[in-house]
């Protein structure tokens, strides 16, 4: 789960990281009022889960409250990478002497959170990593020990020669690590970490991505979810306990298991089609899930054919068949459907489907080929 910049900054501020003052606005009036209250030049920043806000015109410098109002007007409602801007952060514009990057990710190879820090901040760290890797220091944290003071100081000195700044940076990195662990992050970053002309450090932008698996035990973090900033179909799917990702093709896929779901998408492509989505109904055998899945798939107007691919292990294929029958009775399908199922209770499932006018295949390749042909308007 992605946090908005302003949410990440609230968490960081609470743990002691110096953050420029600011507040969130959903209307130009509010933006102007905040700018007036701050009494400084401000930045108006779109709060949206998409990279490249700046390039898209979603971040503006505003010398006066009137300009803040005007820019907020322009940014609110703007579409950035398919997402509508509903909120802007209005925050004091910092004077910048230099910019650094400080981030933590969970590294699979090292099986640990790993700091990445670079004095070349303010820009995309992946670009720095690709072009000037020597400008990045990596430091893995053994979570059994936590971030050790000497590690934080090493990183502080990597960024700054001056011991005062190095110490301040070390303190901020310790706070960032604590916030990362407390919130259950898979990524947390401050970019840029700014040295002001008066030689103070300040975190001008913050980002946190939460490990979804943490949310059950972190209700205060889970409460930060902003469904207005996500694709409605994905919100719908999550609430139905489905894993769904919208894609651009026209073959709607419904599969049990993430690996098989990916392999099914790949096979659609292999046979010349384009998948409309990734959808994993998971391991449980609940007809209701199938009903929800069909609703979500058919809500996409691009979908020209629907493909079920179910390998029954824990999943009972008869439950899936019942789900298909129920769903199509509730709202008849407008596009053709191809059903492949095999495994647990396969015979019962086939019987249920046949009695309700569906045919079923037990062969994955055959089913995928038919679905691709149907989506292209060919014969079933």
């Amino acid at each position: 789960m992605n946090l908005h910049e302003y949410q990440a900054k609230e968490l960081l501020r609470a743990i002691g990281v110096p953050i420029p003052p600011g507040d969130i606005a959903t209307t130009p009036d509010e933006a102007e009022a905040i700018a007036t209250r701050l009494g400084t030049a401000v930045m108006v920043k779109a709060q949206v889960h998409a990279g490249g806000r700046g390039k898209a015109g979603g971040v503006k410098y505003c010398p006066t409250p009137a300009v803040a109002r005007e820019k907020a007007q322009a940014i609110l409602g703007m579409d950035i990478k398919g997402l509508t801007v509903e909120k802007v952060l209005v925050t004091t514009a910092a004077d910048i002497a230099s910019e650094a990057y400080v981030g933590i990710i969970v590294d699979r190879a090292r099986k640990a959170p790993v700091f990445m820090v670079s004095a070349a901040g303010g820009i995309d760290i992946e670009e720095v990593a690709a072009t000037t890797p020597e400008k990045i220091m990596y430091e893995a944290v053994d979570t059994r020990y936590g971030l050790l003071p000497f590690q934080a100081m090493q990183m502080g000195f990597f960024l700054y020669k001056d011991v005062k700044l190095a110490r301040q940076a070390a303190a901020i990195m310790t706070q960032l690590y604590d916030a990362f662990m407390e919130a259950g992050c898979s990524l947390a970053e401050i970019n840029p970490l700014v040295v002001t002309p008066t030689n103070e450090l300040i975190a001008v932008d913050g980002k946190m991505v939460i490990d979804d698996n943490e949310l059950d035990r972190k209700p205060s973090i889970a409460a930060l979810r902003d469904e207005s900033s996500e694709a409605p179909s994905e919100v719908d799917a999550r609430n139905a306990n489905l894993t769904f990702i919208k894609l651009d093709g026209n073959v709607g896929c419904c599969v049990n298991g993430a690996g098989l779901a990916m392999a099914t998408m790949d096979l659609v492509k292999y046979y010349g089609g384009e998948p409309a989505n990734f959808l994993d109904i998971g391991g449980s055998s609940n007809p209701e899930k199938v009903v929800n899945a069909l609703r979500i798939i058919t809500a996409d107007p691009n979908v020209k054919a629907i493909l079920f691919n179910i390998f029954g292990g824990i999943t009972r294929t008869d439950d899936v068949a019942n789900g298909i029958v129920t769903a199509t009775k509730q709202s008849p399908l407008k596009v053709p459907i191809v059903i492949r199922l095999t495994g647990t209770n396969e015979e019962i499932a086939v019987k249920i489907l046949q009695e309700n006018g569906f045919s079923a295949s037990s062969d994955m390749d055959e089913a995928v080929q038919r679905a691709v042909a149907l989506a292209k308007g060919g014969a079933a």
Binding site: N213, N256, D266, G343
Partner: protein
């Protein structure tokens, strides 16, 4: 022969009285797995299915039954503790089926298990099966048949699909291992490949990877430099968009790293057979066993 589990496996089921644990414990018993104990705190003293004693703690269970393998079906927030409890009690092989374990928990579990000298498979995995001998986890027994192919995979149902097609084509399996789809897991491809290389029964290996991370690339390098037995690989997620988690916590392309294309290229560079679709395993393995 086989890897990791065989007729000497004495299995303990953590969470045996729960919904998933009891269902799969029955399935494993039916398959013939030697299930010697179950653990559910507060249910110590009960008997499961009239024949498997239940204990309050893993330590009690191990002491009483000599269990050497444990399979875990507990809710995600308790899974880390369950894995560590098993390791501390001296269980040698720990298989965690639970999906949804926070990855930061695994940064502690992994070194803990290692310090205790145990092997962990999973979490978020279907477990493993040595057809005809022992099943630990949730892989459906009826789709498997004994034979010469070792199977190792990051996913569940995709494994079933491949095993099913192999079995239908008359190609049996030595052991099938699902290592799980999480970013940090206890056993990786290389661990399994090394075990298959050393296992006399195994003549060839089927390996199902997916997008995310670099485990498949490292496995390919291992195949190239350390293995004599043929390996056929597949990568799921060729059509996955970058930056999105494809169901599995570990199946995510970060920036330009972890793509299917680079993994397939690594397979090819290692001289491995490359299955473009699951069905291709059948012909590629037929030619190799």
């Amino acid at each position: 022969m086989s890897i990791f589990i065989d007729n000497s496996t004495k299995l303990l089921v953590q969470g045996i009285t729960g919904r998933d644990g009891s269902f799969h414990a029955k399935q494993m018993l039916e398959y013939g797995t030697n299930v010697v104990a179950g653990v559910t705190p507060g249910k110590g003293g009960q008997m499961f299915e009239g024949k498997v004693p239940v204990f309050d703690t893993v330590a009690d269970a191990v002491k009483a039954t000599g269990a050497n393998t444990s399979v875990i079906y507990v809710p995600p927030m308790y899974a880390a503790d369950a894995m560590m409890e098993a390791a501390a009690a001296g269980v040698a092989l720990i298989v965690c089926i639970t999906e949804g374990v926070p990855v930061l928990d695994m940064t502690r579990v992994y070194p803990f298990v290692k310090e205790h000298g145990a092997r962990l498979i999973g979490p978020n995995c279907p477990g493993l099966i040595t057809p005809g001998a022992s099943k630990v986890g949730i892989i459906p027994g009826r789709i498997c048949t004994p034979g010469p192919v070792g199977v190792v995979s990051r996913s569940g149902t995709l494994t079933y699909e491949v095993v099913y097609q192999l079995t239908r084509a008359g190609i049996g399996q030595s052991t099938c291992v699902g290592i799980g789809g999480d970013p940090i897991n206890g056993t990786n491809f290389i661990d399994c490949l090394a075990a298959f290389e050393a296992d006399p029964q195994t003549k060839a290996v089927a390996m199902m990877g997916e997008i995310g991370g670099t485990d498949e690339q490292e496995a390919a390098e291992f195949v190239r430099t350390k293995m004599k037995k043929p390996v056929v690989g597949f990568i799921a997620g060729q059509t996955a968009p970058p930056g999105r988690r494809m169901g599995h916590a570990g199946a995510i392309i970060s920036g330009s790293s972890g793509t299917a294309a680079e993994k397939i290229a690594a397979f090819e560079a290692a001289g491995m057979g490359v299955a473009k679709r699951p069905l291709d395993f059948v012909e590629l393995l037929k030619a190799r066993v």
